[in-house]
Assembly symmetry: none
Homo-oligomer: 129 residues x 4
DNA sequence: GTGGTCTAGACCACT
DNA sequence: GTGGTCTAGACCACT
């Protein structure tokens, strides 16, 4: 079962963070078609946010065709998001973790790392738009 | 001179994106004390956003002590954000770029990469909260 | 400017009625790309419903790609729904109005007419599914 | 025996759709006093909905005095809803079907037709409110 | 119990 | 002023 978390102070609205986390989990193969998301009320209780906020996230997922709420039953994953095969992904991930460890060892803090990552990611992206 | 950009649809308010970009540039050593930021009008015109939005970002930077507006002259960087020495950073950056290139070559798209990066970054962070 | 109305007691949720009315107006050529919908607050005030309910309808239209909210400006039609040319539609409409008048003259009330219409419409539809 | 159907995605709750269908059938003379409705179980099985939903519809019909459940026997129509004599209704219906056929032939799809019909019906109604 | 709709009202971002 | 997010809480439909 996916474990949601919400970070305040990022400027990203909480409902949006939940949507992003489900999308990420689908891409990484941590969630699959048919999986059940935690109930609206449970997420609201655990993250100490309003049930309507969770509902909004789930409705957004529904609009994207990724999940579907079934009253009385729960909310279920309807469609996956293709990514690489698990093995290839695991390899890339291991390499990235090595890089991260090196960066921390070199004395960077996570804000600095985030800044570096964001910059590099952005510089590679524009060509895709 | 820093080149701002605004991505709509991310949920992050534009003024906040501008602030974040200045902070990142400071951390990476792309902006230094005394540097002048582009004028409010110029940013507004180039990004096609309201001048008040830019003004809000610059005011936020003032509140953080990072920049200072001098009427008639422009807005200037007041304080830097320490990061690693340029050389060490360049090395880490080169490694990260290599990783990125590998990921793209393996067939990942930028959303997939963003998902992987976000996940790995988050897993290393919790200890800081 | 479209004139919304909400009928209670039909079982159709109000936000849904608003969405349906916009779609109908688009099909009939009463609304066009670029047209501005009445503001959330105005609709809420006139229909004596909550602004959030109107907002929900507008968001639904946005998800369907039919409208787009622009903070500070209003909500605008983004895409039309093709229908017949106005003239052909006007002709069909005139014929339908004649039929309706005949039905009323024969002594049917609007519930009876609605029942007849719903039944006939349903019997012609199934083949399309 | 009446043939129920439930359309999802219309916003109208299923139990309400069942009630409406019985009322329509009564108005059109397709159901008469003493007729037996299909059993709750049968309807639930055929429409793949929960028996409680069907039960709720039947109870609603009882409240309206239109039907009456007789334990062990079934649910029976108690009262009709007056409409026009069958012949007059058949004539009106034939005319409406001709109109419908013309509309389809002209190239309208059922959503377009539904939009036109709803609009015309509403414009004739206001005087009743 | 589970998702869905709605209200009332606060507060924010953008024009 | 205009749309957008969130909270708190009531009530409904479905399982």
């Amino acid at each position: 079962m996916i474990e949601f978390r919400v970070e305040v102070g990022t400027g990203v609205p909480p409902y949006r963070q939940l949507v992003d986390q489900v999308e990420r989990a689908l891409r990484l193969g941590h969630l699959h078609v048919g999986d059940r998301l935690p109930t609206v009320k449970e997420v609201a209780r655990r993250l100490v946010i309003n049930p309507n906020t969770v509902l909004k996230a789930y409705r957004e997922l529904e609009h994207k065709g990724l999940a579907k709420g079934r009253p009385g039953l729960g909310t279920f994953i309807e469609r996956g998001l293709d990514g690489l095969p698990a093995e290839q992904q695991a390899e890339l991930r291991a390499d990235l973790e090595k890089w991260l460890a090196t960066a921390y060892r070199a004395g960077m803090d996570s804000d600095g790392i985030a800044a570096l990552v964001a910059t590099v990611l952005h510089e590679f992206r524009p060509e895709e738009n």
